[in-house]
Symmetry: C2
DNA sequence: CATTGCGTTCAATGCAAATTGAATCTACCA
DNA sequence: TGGTAGATTCAATTTGCATTGAACGCAATG
């Protein structure tokens, strides 16, 4: 029995879709997770396709993304060649990985950028104001890196 | 003199545009902030329009958004009817407000949703599994709220 | 009070990213 | 080994949102 018949679940699926869209993961990703989250039994790609009215390609790609984030688990149902999926409810871990994707990489990218920039504004043609701004940027990057690496943050997201 | 002539600044403007686009604030918003950040003097809407090759409407709307986030300040130049803007460099504060917009509101919205949902699955027609899932969701929401309200987080983002 | 020079608005547009689905690939079974 | 059922891929399409710019509003100035 599909939980999608329940109005509360419908609404949750819609909201989850909005959320993941805003966060840059696409709407379907959140919808799939929400459906799985409220499904007592594991679901196949075809289930998702039918119940959410999406294409098979979309189902496949988004489920893969959720798997990468650790938000979803593949389960085998014996005697059935299809892949089935169920939702993990370790929200903390899922969110941490999602943030890692969005924030973590960028903090490091900023660090690299500043290094490169430093090299090109050092020397005679270096603009004093730009150097000053880069310094503030570097200070911030270090703080951000520190914050991100802080074990306290990891604990709090548990 | 426009800092946009400097390759490092050009590159930074491009990157900042990508970042804000991914974060859902639009490309121009980041570009404007980046340009202002590396501008020694305050800049007018027309400056932004010319140097970033954007429309006046875009400049107006995005600057407004940055102002709301506290990322940018309006300054008056006497004898000039135009509005001038300069970048704040309190990154911590800016990011906190951005997060408030993206995360904070949603944590509260989730809380409200759960309350509503609770009411509609209580009683005879309530599905046991859905109730169980809602319970886990509520537990998470409380933790998230606590994390978000934690003064430590605020301090670390300073 | 008319004019001038700004800022703002919003319907129309353009564009980038999400989504589709036919073609392709893979694993399994007879 | 061929056949089948499902998963995956990616070029083409759709869709939604950022961006544009003409029209409007408004405040200052002579």
């Amino acid at each position: 029995m599909s939980p999608i018949e329940h109005p509360v679940v419908r609404r949750f699926i819609e909201d989850a879709g909005h959320l993941t869209q805003v966060l840059g993961f696409g709407r379907v990703t959140g919808q799939i997770y929400a459906l799985l989250y409220f499904s007592a039994e594991a679901r196949s790609l075809d289930d998702l396709k039918r119940e959410l009215a999406i294409s098979k390609g979309s189902a496949s790609m988004c489920v893969r993304q959720l798997e990468t984030l650790g938000a979803v688990q593949r389960v085998w149902v014996k005697g059935d060649r299809r892949d089935y999926y169920q939702a993990n409810d370790y929200f903390g871990q899922i969110i941490r990985r999602g943030l890692q994707e969005i924030v973590g990489h960028r903090v490091e990218a900023l660090g690299q950028f500043i290094e490169e920039a430093d090299r090109s504004v050092t020397g005679a043609d270096g603009d004093a104001f730009i150097r000053q701004r880069l310094d503030r940027l570097r200070a911030f990057q270090k703080k951000a890196q520190k914050f991100w690496d802080n074990p306290l943050v990891k604990v709090m997201l548990k």
